[in-house]
């Protein structure tokens, strides 16, 4: 995603301030009790996925992707490279796209997690999903959930994304069947229709 220099500085300033506050808090706690150790063995993990609370007992090392796929049967997002390269596992966590194969489930607690499984409203597809179907922006379909989520996040952030922003915004995903041309068409079609902020 293209971020202007001004936006970047603004964002960095706020984040810097926030981390400073948090760091101070953590230092205080650690002085008294030391860092909190989780595991080994199952620990309770509470996740907010697609607006629904999900209580799991899993090992702390379980990724967000595996927690949802293997423990909650939320199988829409796929595991492909399993190390944050291909984007098939892309989810939206607190408004930002993440590679859920490279995010621990315990780190996603207290955050709003959106997966491909939650985008459609019953039988009504999300405009991005509809656009993918209309222009045939998929073949085998295994990269598709990740591309759909990445496109949704891109258009929510940049409703008027330029072609260059779209390419860059979708560069974190890989397709092996070769659906890129049609995915870009779908993203354009969805942009034209407008994508409401989720």
């Amino acid at each position: 995603m293209t971020v202007s220099r001004r936006e970047f500085l603004k964002g960095a300033g706020v984040t810097g301030l926030a981390s400073a506050v948090t760091a101070a808090g953590v230092a205080e706690t650690e002085a008294q009790t030391g860092p909190r150790v989780l595991g080994p063995g199952d620990v309770p993990v509470s996740l907010m996925v697609n607006g629904k609370r999900l209580e799991l007992k899993i090992e702390p090392r379980v990724t967000l992707l595996d927690a949802l796929r293997n423990r909650a049967d939320l199988i829409g997002n796929k595991r492909v490279c399993d190390r944050g390269t291909c984007g098939a596992c892309t989810m939206i966590v607190d408004g930002r796209t993440v590679y859920s194969c490279s995010t621990l489930a315990i780190e996603a607690q207290g955050k709003q997690i959106r997966t491909v499984d939650g985008l459609a409203n019953g039988a009504t597809l999300h405009p991005v999903q509809q656009a993918f179907c209309d222009v045939d922006a998929l073949m085998c379909g295994f990269c598709t959930p990740g591309f759909v989520v990445a496109t949704v996040a891109l258009l929510e952030k940049h409703p008027n994304a330029t072609p260059e922003q779209m390419r860059k915004g979708l560069d974190g995903n890989i397709c092996r069947c070769g659906t890129f041309v049609r995915i870009l068409e779908a993203a354009n079609a969805a942009k034209a229709k407008g994508v409401a902020r989720g």
Partner: protein, 730 residues
């Protein structure tokens, strides 16, 4: 190696199909066929509802994992499962290789284990102790062919192939005004299926159900039965959705059998999907190809002679065949070939097996020859083509493509524009078979008007489910949504594996024949009720009525009410005359080369492809687009790298095994030449053959430097430019 080497699937095949019985012939004015119909399972795939084998979760399911050889060649001394068996959550463990057995490549499976969670299965796998005695290994073709190479493979590291000779080679070279002599080569790439190989196996007594990621659902059942020594009637394979195969997924392989055995031992369903590293190491690859070629041409541009010695490696004990020379007429020619075995994962068919290699070796040579006689590459190629035919339309495509692409703006070899960015154009031609056969189908028409079409084929992403429904809907005069297509299950009527671009040409005739027969049965009932002859009736626009008199008839639903309690259920099979074989195509590429960094960017591709009768315009064009993009990867990015010392793959992942992303994909124009009179012909493979050669020729045109091997990585581009500065590459 002749075309037959790749299973005959790449052969040109017959040009004109024998005629089918007139009643089965494709409609002269189709309503659905050759139009753009949206993929039926699109909504399931975009919402994540489509459940792939990887997504199957069964009650009580546990997770399997394979232990593999880290060495390219070793003898297994012992496999000790005891520590692993005691690890938390472990439910089953087995040795796949017996002590004394050899492992022939890194990733060769040695043992299997299953535990209640995936994480615990990974932990336990590390506790399996395998002792190896390392043996001498061969990491490269050069090592394997060296005079002092250790004898690793029984019967020799190098296998002499057959020799092909036509005409009189000496006469050919005597007639030549120019001779080009050079060595050309292509590299090894892996399939990188996004859904890795694997399955979920579940036993019910002595019956096995396997949800398997495969291109051949019925053949997988057969192979499970053979591998497990159980009757095929006890095996049920299911593949509703499949995340890419590209020629590498034709059976359960070792991982499927290990999964089934673990499930048997654990008395629980087991999911065993390979991880990304295993996928690179042990699920096939496209073999390398190298040829040392001497070729002659007359002063006015007529090819006279071709003398090629070729070799390649398909890894451990596997051949590396490819057609050579490709397409063009060399009246006097000789070719010898050697298969070279090395200690690396065995090859498997990969999208148009052999053809991208043979095409590249020939097409780069063709541009070098054209330069010698100072001819335009298109005119030079047209001058040396085999005769024009329905399956050999190259001359037409060269002409129309050159016009559409703006070939007249191509500069002679070497872009003289100042600055570091040089632009060039290249061209290449290809062919493929794509014949059909051996598919059965069943069509049920129910009294409520439902139509169910059943065929034991599978949709590997090409849109098979959609074209199955389209053909039946076309025949019944119904919308596509009115037909339910049941595929991807080994209990359905027989159909072949999806390989060789044979699926559309095998399946659609079977559906057509069966649907026509089913419609006849329905028309017999309607005719009796209307008091007309069945032959007077047609099905169109959702009605069955007297031809030319829409009012004398019944709506589909009302017609089906006449069926009664016993549904119309018709079995049928593929018949000759509705499908064809043999396709031709031409592609043009434009690329820029930064001569300071060596980075190549593809800016435009034009792909012209014939494909017989286009079934679904939307999915057919998409396959061509995908083929082109796959070949951009082959040309510019992907490369299986083996460490020179250890023989281990250094990039078994997706960050160092490079694949194109959105920003790497150029403008691509697809022109499909719809030829309904030839019947249905598959085109999953041919569009991926020419692209890399056309790009390489564009790079040559841009820079004046010839790079005779793939991939066109920046360091090779820079080296070629240096060599050119030092005295030319010719």
């Amino acid at each position: 190696m002749a075309d037959q080497q790749v299973g005959g699937r790449g052969g040109q095949g017959g040009a004109a199909p024998a005629a089918a019985a007139p009643k089965y012939a494709w409609p002269a004015k189709p309503v659905l066929l050759s139009t753009a119909v949206k993929r039926l399972d699109g909504p399931d795939k975009v919402t994540g509802r489509a459940r792939y084998s990887y997504d199957i979760n069964r009650p009580g399911m546990i997770y399997g994992r394979i232990v593999r050889s880290p060495y390219p060649h070793a003898r297994v001394v012992s496999v000790d499962l005891s520590a692993a068996e005691k690890a938390p959550g472990v439910k089953a463990a087995l040795a796949w290789k017996e002590p004394g057995a050899q492992v022939m490549y890194q990733g060769d499976p040695v043992a299997g284990i299953a535990a209640d969670t995936e994480e615990r299965a990974r932990d336990a796998a590390r506790l399996i102790r395998v002792q190896y005695e390392q043996l001498p290994h061969l990491n490269s073709v050069e090592q394997a062919m060296a005079a002092d190479a250790p004898a690793v493979f029984p019967g020799g590291n190098v296998r002499e192939g057959s020799k092909e000779e036509t005409g009189a080679l000496d006469d050919g070279f005597a007639k030549a005004a120019h001779v080009v002599e050079a060595t050309y080569s292509t590299h090894v790439i892996t399939h990188v299926c996004l859904e890795t190989h694997g399955c979920v196996c579940e036993w019910d007594g002595d019956k096995l159900t396997a949800w398997i990621s495969t291109q051949a659902v019925i053949q997988s059942a057969q192979q499970f039965a053979q591998g497990l020594k159980i009757p095929q009637s006890n095996v049920h394979c299911i593949t509703q959705y499949m995340g890419g195969g590209f020629g590498s997924k034709f059976g359960p392989d070792a991982q499927g059998l290990i999964c089934a055995k673990l499930a048997q031992q654990a008395k629980a369903p087991v999911k065993l999907m390979l991880d990304r590293k295993e996928e690179h190491l042990d699920t096939g690859n496209r073999p390398s190809a190298t040829a040392h070629i001497r070729a002659g041409v007359t002063a006015d541009g007529v090819l006279t002679a071709f003398d090629g010695q070729s070799w390649g490696t398909g890894g451990a004990g596997q051949p590396a065949g490819f057609p050579l020379p490709y397409i063009y007429n060399f009246p006097n020619r000789r070719r010898t070939h050697k298969d070279v075995y090395i200690n690396a994962g065995p090859q498997r068919a990969m999208r148009a097996p052999g053809h991208p290699q043979g095409c590249f070796l020939t097409e780069i040579l063709m541009d070098e020859l054209a330069d010698r006689v100072k001819m335009d590459p298109v005119a030079f190629r047209v001058k040396n083509l085999p005769p024009r035919g329905p399956n050999a339309m190259w001359a037409d495509y060269f002409a129309s493509g050159a016009k559409q692409f703006g070939w007249d703006k191509r500069h002679p070899t070497g872009d003289q524009t100042p600055g570091p960015i040089k632009t060039g154009m290249g061209v290449s031609a290809h062919r493929w078979g794509g014949a059909g056969g051996g598919s059965q189908a069943r069509v049920d028409i129910l009294s409520d008007g439902s139509v169910v079409v059943k065929c034991g084929t599978q949709d590997i992403g090409t849109g098979t489910r959609t074209i199955v429904a389209m053909v039946a809907a076309e025949t019944f005069g119904l919308p596509v949504s009115a037909v339910k297509a049941e595929i991807g299950d080994s209990l359905l009527p027989f159909s072949g594996g999806s390989g060789g671009s044979t699926t559309a040409a095998s399946v659609t005739p079977a559906i057509r024949v069966t649907s026509v027969d089913a419609l006849e049965a329905l028309c017999a009932k309607v005719a009796a009720s209307l008091g007309v002859e069945p032959t007077e009736l047609v099905a169109e626009g959702g009605r069955i009525h007297v031809k030319g008199n829409t009012s004398k008839g019944l709506a589909w639903k009302d017609a089906c009410k006449l069926i009664g309690t016993e549904p119309i259920s018709v079995n049928g099979r593929w018949q000759q005359g509705l499908s064809g074989s043999g396709t031709s195509g031409v592609q043009f590429a434009e690329a820029t080369v930064d001569v300071e960094t060596g980075i190549v960017k593809v800016t435009r591709i034009l792909a012209i492809q014939d494909c017989g009768l286009v079934v679904d315009k939307l999915t057919a064009e998409h396959q061509a687009l995908g083929g082109v993009i796959a070949a951009i990867n082959f040309a510019l990015f992907e490369d299986r790298l083996l460490d020179r010392v250890t023989g281990q793959m250094v990039n078994p992942n997706m960050e160092w095994y490079l694949l194109a992303g959105m920003s790497d994909v150029p403008k691509i124009d697809i022109v499909l030449n719809n030829m309904p009179e030839r019947g249905v012909i598959g085109i999953g493979e041919p569009p991926t053959v020419s692209t890399a050669s056309a790009i390489a020729n564009a790079v040559r045109n841009a820079t004046g430097a010839t790079i005779r091997s793939l991939p066109l990585h920046p360091h090779k581009v820079l080296a070629a430019l240096e060599q050119q500065k030092a005295g030319g590459t010719n």
